[in-house]
């Protein structure tokens, strides 16, 4: 490589586009859409980094990855070293590189974002993670001496995996309890193959197993085991069970055949593999049918694009606000559109109607945006008299999840927020019951993979502190750092 580029030269380079499977081809395939950067592309993209003295990108990362450092290493061609840098803060980079909403995080705060061409940090993170995986360079950290402490992690989604990963590396015995028959939580039942290949999740989980994490499947805590039993058997318990109770529309006709929660539709297709011929789990046949999806988040995009891949003729996303308010990752919206998914904005369902118990039509109320609500987004309100109707054979409801009562109802003294989520000290994940920590969607309500992972890691650090000190109240020094954080 020749002499390093000047800042001016770097500014002139174009952002490298992620190679993608052709839109027509991929609309009929569950294979991954994004194909990954080549070594050359990754290096060129990394060379665009301006190496800011005070890198803003790190501020945007919920887990504080040393982004400038790993990108410099990629530019130098030291990919394995770059992986080590990422690994310090993120145990699941192959997953986060694919599913993080980078435009709102690291890439959103990158100085080049002002010119709308931030460094493709997500793509580079993915590149580095895929490189070490495919080259078999996965670093097995040197195992620390066993501490003799045992920790139970409830739920094997992003929060639980991140928490388990940190704790096992500190020498604790970690058992993860998963209600379903396969570990991974939303990573396996929710996010589809074409966006996050299951093989990647399995590799990450196998890595944790190699480190000694024990996964217990079919373990529905609250039923198969009680929280009290876990507290008697383990030194600490982390609850990362996700939100996991789908919201429905609350309009007439929502129990017609043909109305699915996104969780059900995606679980049938992803976890239960209904898209493969040898699976015994059925999913309603959408071949040649008209599908509507309610919602504007990543789950709505996933459901719509899954329906398309299952053979639907016409798929439309119905969202009650406008495109600007959609919480979905920009890339998913673009991919969905390229694949032929239609978007209807400012509509809200008022009734689902059918024939012989099967969904046929959706009645919609047209909306307009009013004053901002508590989330800062302008609140949609109905335009009087403006109604419309669309034909639909299948409707998928992707409007979020509430807290699942299964575990919570068995632990009445675990303090809850007014939304029914678990109340915790945000910095430590400590709940109202000493020894019990919580993080992820069961605390925040539906959020992102990376936020759940971040919460899992913060809780892991807090578990350490609790095991060391036996003090449940936050020490004053920690409180100070919470305030300054």
């Amino acid at each position: 490589m020749s002499a390093p580029l000047t800042k001016k030269e770097r500014m002139k380079l174009d952002r490298i586009d992620m190679p993608e499977r052709d839109a027509v081809e991929r609309a009929g395939s569950f294979e991954e859409v994004n194909l990954g950067l080549t070594a050359k592309m990754a290096q060129l993209e990394a060379m665009r980094c301006l190496e800011c003295k005070r890198p803003k990108c790190i501020d945007g990362c919920p887990v504080g990855i040393q982004i400038d450092e790993f990108i410099r290493l990629v530019a130098e061609g030291s990919v394995a070293e770059a992986a080590e840098v990422i690994q310090r803060d993120n145990l699941l980079p192959a997953i986060c590189g694919r599913v993080c909403p980078q435009e709102n995080q690291c890439e959103g705060t990158c100085v080049l974002a002002k010119k709308e061409r931030p460094i493709a940090i997500g793509h580079l993170e993915r590149y580095v993670a895929d490189y070490v995986r495919t080259e078999g360079l996965h670093q097995v950290a040197e195992m620390p001496r066993p501490t003799g402490k045992a920790i139970a992690v409830i739920g094997s989604g992003p929060a639980g995996l991140a928490c388990a990963g940190d704790l096992i590396q500190s020498g604790h015995a970690v058992t993860v309890f998963e209600a379903l028959h396969e570990p991974g939580g939303v990573l396996v039942y929710g996010i589809p193959e074409f966006r996050l290949p299951k093989e990647i999740v399995q590799t990450e989980i196998a890595g944790l197993e190699t480190l000694g994490v024990v996964f217990e499947m079919n373990a529905v805590v609250g039923r198969t085991h009680t929280l009290e039993e876990l507290l008697a058997e383990f030194d600490a318990v982390f609850i990362g069970v996700g939100a996991g109770l789908p919201r429905f529309l609350g309009v007439p006709g929502e129990n017609l055949i043909g109305v699915y929660s996104a969780n059900e539709f995606l679980t049938r297709v992803n976890l239960m593999k209904a898209y493969l011929n040898d699976a015994d789990t059925p999913v309603l046949d959408v071949t040649g049918k008209r599908i509507v999806v309610f919602g504007g988040g990543n789950t709505a995009m996933d459901a719509a694009r899954t329906a398309l891949r299952m053979g639907a003729a016409d798929v439309r996303i119905l969202y009650r606000r406008t495109e600007a308010e959609m919480p979905a990752r920009r890339e998913e919206v673009r991919h969905a559109r390229e694949e032929g998914i239609a978007f209807d904005f400012l509509v809200s369902p008022t009734q689902l109607s059918g024939e012989d118990g099967l969904l046929r039509r959706v009645s919609l109320q047209r909306m307009e945006l009013g004053e901002p609500d508590e989330t800062g987004r302008r609140r949609p309100q109905p335009i009087e008299g403006a109604t419309t109707e669309v034909e639909a054979d299948l409707a998928v409801v992707a409007i979020g999840n509430g807290p699942n009562p299964l575990l919570l109802s068995t632990v009445p003294d675990l303090e809850r927020t007014k939304w029914g989520t678990i109340a915790v000290d945000e910095a430590t994940g400590r709940t109202s019951i000493p020894g019990v920590f919580a993080g992820g969607d069961i605390v925040t309500g539906g959020a992102t993979v990376i936020l759940a992972m971040g919460a899992g890691r913060r809780a892991a650090a807090s578990v350490e502190n609790w095991l060391d000190t036996g003090v449940w109240e936050l020490p004053p020094s920690e409180e100070e750092s919470v305030e300054s954080a």
Binding site: F30, V220, T224, N263, E264, T267, D280, T281, M310
Partner: protein, 281 residues
């Protein structure tokens, strides 16, 4: 893996399995179910637990072979294993001292009724158990029910055993002769609907154990939703037992047929694997 220690035929197409599932056995209470997967490509199906023994860690499941999964399950023998057993799920039956309780079990639903009968007897109730089947061969758990101390009345549709006629006929007669405080019903949807119709005029409190299609069984998918008094409920976490007078049984029956065509294809494949039909993608 969950080992089957005993598998026995108890009726035409109905088998009883005794399965090692110590965690389920330890926490099980009457009215609860498990989600079972036969093999790694299998679907998740809910099965009611008929009995559980904390000491041996065994649970008893009664399976009627109807769809591919239940028929495959019924091909298993002692020594075979179930790939997954998750539970116990659902809320337990509300067992208290009601006075006189009638528990109606139809067909394989008798396996759901049995633990409820036992628990009600243990709670000091006078329990009348009305069980029925199409014919004599379909009547299950009669001696076990008698052993609980309940009064057992058997009926068969074709009159081949016990009282001729439907369980609802016997229920109506019982209600006419005895003050009854509560009725539990478990069985086919039309039977539970008929039971609710019999008890409604006099307002006898009636509980039905619903059997909708489920996937995860933990509240995550909402596939098992039922309409109870105009309110959508998830049978897996809010039930499976609900006030039978408020349940929309017609909706339940329709939703249970949602995958009828798929089941037929899979059943045909089970009989002749060479006729595998290629379905969508």
């Amino acid at each position: 893996m969950y080992r089957i220690v005993q598998a026995t035929d108890v009726g035409p197409g109905v088998r009883r399995f005794s399965v090692e599932a110590p965690h389920v056995a330890r926490h099980y209470r009457a009215g609860q179910f498990v989600i079972v997967r036969v093999d790694p490509t299998g679907e998740r199906i809910p099965l009611t637990v008929a009995a559980a023994d904390t000491d041996t860690g065994l649970i008893a499941l009664y399976v009627q072979g109807i769809g591919k999964t239940t028929r495959r399950l019924n091909m298993l023998e002692s020594g075979d294993s179930l790939h997954d057993v998750a539970g116990p799920l659902g809320k337990p039956s509300e067992i208290e001292h009601y006075g006189t309780a009638v528990v109606v079990g139809g067909g394989v639903g008798t396996a759901i009724a049995y633990p409820v009968v036992k628990a009600l007897v243990d709670a000091g109730n006078r329990v009348i158990s009305i069980i029925g089947g199409r014919s004599r061969d379909f009547v299950i758990l009669e001696s076990e029910l008698e052993a609980t101390g309940a009064e057992v009345i058997v009926c068969t549709d074709d009159g081949s055993y016990g009282r001729p006629g439907f369980v609802t006929d016997t229920l109506a007669d019982t209600l006419a002769g005895t003050p009854v405080d509560i009725v539990f019903a478990a069985g086919p949807v039309p039977m539970m609907k008929a039971v609710a119709a019999v008890t409604k005029p006099d307002g006898v409190r009636t509980i039905a154990s619903l059997n909708p299609i489920m996937v995860d069984g933990t509240g995550m998918c909402g596939g098992c939703r039922v309409d109870v008094g105009g309110k959508t409920q998830f049978a897996c976490v809010d039930g499976p037992e609900f006030d039978a007078h408020l349940v929309d049984f017609d909706l339940l029956a329709r939703r249970n047929q949602a995958y009828h065509d798929f089941e037929q294809v899979r059943n045909a494949e089970l009989e002749d694997p060479s006729c595998r039909v290629e379905s969508s993608p």
